[in-house]
């Protein structure tokens, strides 16, 4: 038996409410608002209260997928990433770094956004990196 309460931040709006995810034997079974949070003081909206419902949805993507003849087939990480790397390299050589763009995300962490813009700038060589701040 393993039961955990893990303090984290709501993935929805910009309020940044803190809550505990209740995890029993590898299954997330509930959300408990954090009362000592300076942001939400133990309160949540309906979206926050139910955030545990989508996390382990059976529709989550679990394998890299490659399009082939109009449909997707499962692939390993090596195959998928080698394919992306070779295509990006080829496009960069043929059309220049500014023919490639990256969409960073307002729904991932700071560390991940940092790594994505670093990848765009240092690896691809373009400042074509943006996210949906305006949307």
């Amino acid at each position: 038996m393993e039961f955990k309460t893990v303090l984290t931040v709501c993935p929805y709006c910009g309020c940044g409410c803190n809550f505990y995810l209740e995890v029993l034997d590898g299954k997330v079974i509930g959300t408990i608002p954090c009362k000592t949070s300076p942001v939400n003081e133990g309160k949540l909206c309906i979206k926050g209260w139910n955030v545990h419902e989508f996390i382990q949805d059976p529709d989550r993507l679990t394998m890299p997928l490659i399009r082939e003849n109009g449909s997707f087939r499962e692939a390993g990480w090596d195959e998928a990433l080698d394919l992306v790397a070779s295509k990006l390299k080829k496009i960069k050589e043929q059309h220049g770094p500014d023919s490639i763009g990256l969409f960073a995300s307002a729904k991932i962490t700071n560390e991940e956004n940092y790594v994505i813009q670093k990848f765009a700038r240092a690896v691809i060589g373009t400042n074509n990196v943006d996210h949906c701040a305006r949307l």
């Binding site: 303090l7 997330v28 989550r60 295509k87 962490t109 700071n110 940092y114 690896v123 400042n127 949906c132």
Partner: protein, 527 residues
């Protein structure tokens, strides 16, 4: 936000505009409603009579896209009555004379005509806000998602400077950010013109600093925004897009145009947690970990950097976004050998002055609000205390401009778009939740009873909503929350996507699309 969320409780007048606060930022609304209980005056200006308008001391419904006119009218009254803060204007600002000249053109009678707001209400707003001890402004996408988005924001800044309601606790110009890490994505340089910490890509010393830190040649050419990348794909100058955790097919204006653009790309990579409509168009899909499956930080609307923590392993082969990018980078010959998110944060802190004092250890407890430049800095509750970033605050002389699109006989109504309380953004997460879909799981287009009766439409009827770009089918919800001539649709539902209709006209400076106003026609659908 210039100020912190809990500071709303200290305000004695809160002016909310273009924000459906109880619905889209419920926990910010908590503080605003507490302020009201303590006696603060709450003013709501919004074309839609949103829930918080019911709870306000004064609600005005200006016509869509007339924000600058309304605000200039309020400032006309403030100047006319001598309610401006002369000391603040003289000590802390510049550009006042030019600004004042423009304001003189916005007497209440003219503004009432443009906006549909009664003169006496314009005067009351001016009175309450200007004479408050601590006046605070809260706004959201109702202000920014216009071709005049920048004008609207600058006009709000004018209002705060005119009255000196900035740089103190309980005051400020407070944009409520719509996604849990939209602040952080901007802070981290997820923008085409700046490195982390808003350091311009065009500045030589900055470029040099990053070149030496990253050991790579960098470009000093400002990159493309998302709408520009879409156009680039259509024109053929762009060949590949790598999309992480975004669903532009639903979230971008004129969705058919976005779909066409993605179909023309040589390479579309989508890294996401679900098979989104955008992912359906990808050549390669990479499965990502969701928020509950990784360590890291996010930065909320009040600039508070907070820890997210791993509660679960990602499903199947899914990995965190940073692990995938680092792996790809290694395969492209640029080594990224981070061992943890914490290690990445150390690099961020070393290159980003406003995050300089942030460490995981210090984030335990309440987190830290940037700017936090050094390891012993306590973080910053509110900005612009003694000076603005540029030194003096600059008044902008801004004239009212109408929306990009006009109504006509064929498209006689205005459409405005936004979120519902029960769902989030493009619905990829919230539509997996039974508790939320049990509340509502389909598009209801909201329209005014008078328009509805003229069109012979009742709540629950199937209708067609058509703009110059496309058509969607939806159900009707007849409600007096909408005023005559204006209708509302959300963008949560792929099968009835409001962004098929919206106008890809952008603010010339920041390229934000005009989601909040376009011309449409409503008709009853043949059953």
């Amino acid at each position: 936000m210039t100020n912190s969320v809990d500071e709303f409780e200290l305000s004695d007048c809160i002016f909310i505009t273009g924000s459906n606060t109880t619905s889209s930022h419920p926990i910010v609304a908590t503080r605003i409603l507490r302020a009201k209980k303590k006696g603060a005056k709450i003013i709501v200006a919004d074309p839609r009579r949103v829930h918080i308008a019911d709870l306000a001391d004064l609600y005005v419904s200006h016509r869509l896209g007339t924000d600058v006119a309304l605000l200039n009218g309020i400032m006309y009254v403030i100047l006319d009555k001598g309610w401006e803060n002369r000391a603040f204007i003289e000590e802390r600002t510049e550009g006042f004379e030019e600004f004042e000249k423009v304001i003189k053109d916005y007497p209440p009678e003219k503004v009432a005509e443009i906006t549909g707001v009664a003169e006496k209400d314009i005067e009351t707003i001016a009175h309450w806000y200007a004479t408050a001890e601590r006046g605070s402004i809260a706004y959201c996408m109702g202000i920014t998602q216009h071709t005049t988005g920048v004008d609207n924001v600058k006009t709000l800044a004018n209002l705060a400077m005119l009255t000196g309601h900035i740089g103190r606790e309980g005051t400020g110009v407070n944009p409520l950010r719509g996604q849990n890490n939209v602040q952080g994505a901007c802070d981290m340089g997820g923008l085409p013109n700046v490195y982390p910490g808003y350091q311009p890509v065009t500045q030589f010393q900055i470029k040099e600093k990053f070149e030496s830190a990253w050991g790579a040649q960098l470009s000093d050419k400002v990159g493309l925004t998302i709408p520009e990348m879409t156009s680039g794909l259509l024109e053929g100058s762009m060949k590949a897009v790598y999309i992480v955790g975004e669903n532009p097919l639903l979230s971008d204006p004129d969705a058919s145009h976005v779909e066409e653009a993605l179909k023309r790309a040589e390479l579309v990579v989508v890294q996401d947690i679900f098979m989104t409509p955008t992912a359906e168009l990808a050549h390669v899909i990479l499965p990502a970990a969701c928020f509950a499956e990784k360590d890291g930080t996010v930065t909320n609307t009040e600039r508070r950097v907070m820890r997210t923590r791993k509660a679960l392993d990602p499903p199947g082969e899914a990995k965190t976004d940073w692990e995938i990018i680092a792996d790809l980078s290694n395969r492209m010959g640029y080594p990224m050998d981070y061992s943890s998110a914490e290690e990445i944060m150390r690099e961020i802190a070393s290159l980003t002055p406003s995050y300089g004092g942030i460490t995981y250890e210090r984030l335990e407890g309440e987190g830290l609000q940037w700017p936090c430049p050094t390891k012993d800095h306590p973080g910053t509750r509110f900005l612009h205390k003694d000076r603005f970033v540029r030194g003096k605050g600059l008044f902008h002389a801004i004239e009212f401009k109408p929306p990009a699109e006009s109504t006509d006989d064929e498209f006689p109504l205005w459409l405005t778009t936004g979120r519902l309380y029960f769902h989030f953004h493009t619905g990829t997460m919230t539509r997996k939740s039974g508790a939320l879909t049990g509340e509502i799981d389909e598009q209801y287009v909201e329209l005014n009873p008078e328009d509805a009766s003229q069109l012979g439409i009742s709540t629950g009827d199937e209708i067609l909503l058509t703009s110059r770009r496309g058509q969607i089918r939806a159900k009707a919800l007849v409600t007096d929350r909408m005023k005559k001539g204006e209708v509302f649709a959300s963008f949560h539902f792929v099968e009835s996507n409001a962004n098929i209709l919206t106008n890809p006209a952008f603010d010339p400076i920041v390229k934000i699309p005009e989601y909040k106003v376009c011309a449409v026609r409503v008709e009853k659908a043949a059953s």
